[in-house]
């Protein structure tokens, strides 16, 4: 179809605002202060110290994405089955908390989870022992889920509401159990939304660090922390850029691998 030309304004925009800055980052990553070509920024990264940081970031991002998928898919299904009026309201209510400032929301979690916070206050009033809810892995994971869940739910929901109901009815008529209807009909049809959701959660989760810093109390040092440190505190834009390029390559490889599992869909993700 001749409709591809309408994407050209964006292609132009992209070249200006994405490709050129990318070139800048590339230039930084391959040079040092005096603009001579060098690979030392990349070599610097391949030390156990920094690879450990990368490993932890990947681990957290994977766990967060998986958790968001497991928790988000059911809620997307539940909302999509409601009447139009109710589900519109519910999906808007789902997104609404994200409009509150991120720092405020995270601080509010600290008020909830602290040693003398609201939850422990209620627990002790009811006679239980206070729990250690903050500055551990669970707190960080919960914070990540809290921040990224809407990004998983929204694309899945928008696909689920338009699944042809007659397909589901046909499957049921042919004797499929509820589980089979889900696994053979609904889930495969919702896959484009799922892939979008995974993309929108995993990629930013890899470079997020404020949540882990505030809720993890410094036990978490992630790639995002490292990059920010290099750009702002160490003044080493070259090393920071190199790390970003490495991350980009890493994600591209990860996406290539996952697309092998996604043969006939053209993937909303990469490759």
């Amino acid at each position: 179809m001749k409709l591809k030309w309408i994407s050209y304004p964006y292609v132009f925009w992209m070249i200006l605002f994405i490709v050129i800055p990318l070139m800048l980052v590339l230039v930084f990553s391959f040079t040092t202060g005096n603009l001579s070509f060098t690979l030392e920024n990349f070599q610097k990264f391949f030390q156990p110290l920094y690879l450990k940081v990368l490993g932890k970031s990947v681990d957290l991002a994977l766990k967060s994405t998986l958790a968001c998928l497991i928790l988000g898919y059911p809620i997307a299904m539940i909302i999509s089955k409601e009447s139009i009026k109710k589900r519109n309201a519910m999906i808007l209510l789902f997104v609404l908390p994200m409009w509150m400032n991120f720092l405020l929301r995270t601080y509010a979690w600290m008020t909830l989870l602290g040693k003398n916070g609201v939850i422990n206050f209620l627990l002790t009033k009811m006679g239980f022992e206070p729990l250690n809810l903050l500055y551990n892995d669970s707190a960080v994971l919960m914070g990540m889920i809290y921040n990224f869940l809407p990004f998983m739910v929204l694309p899945i929901y928008s696909v689920l509401i338009k699944i042809d109901k007659s397909l589901i009815e046909a499957a049921e008529d042919l004797g499929a159990s509820k589980l089979e209807v889900f696994s053979k009909v609904i889930f495969p049809l919702s896959l484009p939304g799922v892939i979008s959701g995974i993309t929108m959660v995993f990629m930013p989760a890899l470079s997020t660090f404020v949540i882990s810093r505030l809720l993890g109390g410094g036990q978490y040092y992630l790639i995002g922390n490292l990059v920010e440190q290099q750009f702002l505190l160490a003044g080493d834009w070259n090393f920071g850029s190199a790390i970003s390029i490495i991350m980009m390559i890493f994600i591209l490889i990860a996406m290539i691998i996952t697309s092998k599992f996604d043969k006939d869909k053209e993937g909303g993700g990469l490759w």
């Binding site: 409709l3 992209m14 908390p97 720092l103």
Partner: protein, 262 residues
């Protein structure tokens, strides 16, 4: 039925989870102590102080304007881009999509500083325009990510059929494709607005000339302690948006029911 009970319970838990910090925020906006650590007494004074604070009001103004504009513009550009990309050949599609995801994937600081450097090369003074442009840049990928699945879900032949019946491509676009993918467009717009309203790092490095947004104001206050007026503002914003959305939702659903759609 047990099934229904489980669904209700799960939904309630999830929403409780989402709203717990919001409730805390609202409750503490009535706390006369400036600190989150103690509760002194109930007061309305922060709400009054809020409207006297010109700096916060100015941030609110810019935040809303930039969020609305960038959501609108990025939704428009992104929707058309998604439609166009969907119709590209294999190779073009891959290249464009992969480049498209860079702002999603990069740490905020990298996007922020590379854009800032770009604006320097363009000799653009940092201010409203640079902040708007950077917001649109990081919003569009999310719009595309929201619209693409709907395009894939859509029956490819619908548009072809329309054109076979004599519609121009543009008419087919307007009357066939866009209504089909509308949920994706709306989702994309919602996400773009959400991202824009809450962005700090990219906004901070790409603004100037007195233009500031709420996130910058809040983060800048963190060292000294976030003023309770901010809590009051957040609570007000929340209530306002909640009421607005429920009103609109009520009316649009009535329209749809009236027109007999399901």
């Amino acid at each position: 039925m047990v099934n229904k009970f489980v669904k209700r319970l799960y939904t309630t838990l999830i929403f409780l989870f989402l709203y717990a910090p919001i409730i805390i925020l609202i409750v503490f906006s009535f706390n006369s102590s400036k600190s989150r650590g103690t509760w002194d007494s109930f007061t309305f004074k922060w709400y009054i102080e809020l409207f006297k604070n010109q700096e916060i009001m100015k941030s609110l103004y810019y935040t809303i304007i930039i969020a609305v504009l960038s959501a609108a513009i990025s939704t428009a550009i992104g929707t058309f881009a998604a439609i166009g990309i969907y119709n590209m050949n294999y190779f073009g599609k891959k290249v464009v999509l992969n480049l498209n995801y860079l702002p999603v994937l990069n740490p905020d600081i990298v996007t922020a500083i590379s854009l800032m450097t770009l604006f320097r090369f363009m000799n653009l003074e940092l201010g409203f325009l640079s902040m708007l442009l950077s917001h649109i840049t990081f919003c569009i990928p999310y719009v595309i990510l929201s619209v693409l699945p709907k395009l894939k879900q859509m029956n490819k032949h619908l548009a072809e059929a329309a054109m076979d019946l004599g519609a121009t491509p543009f008419y087919a676009l307007r009357k066939v494709i866009i209504p089909e993918i509308m949920p994706g467009i709306i989702t994309g717009a919602l996400m773009a607005f959400t991202l824009s309203i809450d962005d700090f790092v990219i906004s901070f490095f790409n603004t100037g000339s007195g233009v500031t947004n709420l996130s910058i104001t809040v983060y800048s206050m963190a060292r000294r302690g976030i003023k309770p007026e901010i809590n009051a503002l957040s609570s007000l914003m929340f209530i306002t948006v909640l009421v607005l959305l429920l009103i609109i939702n009520n009316r649009t659903s009535k329209d749809i029911e009236r027109r007999g759609e399901a």
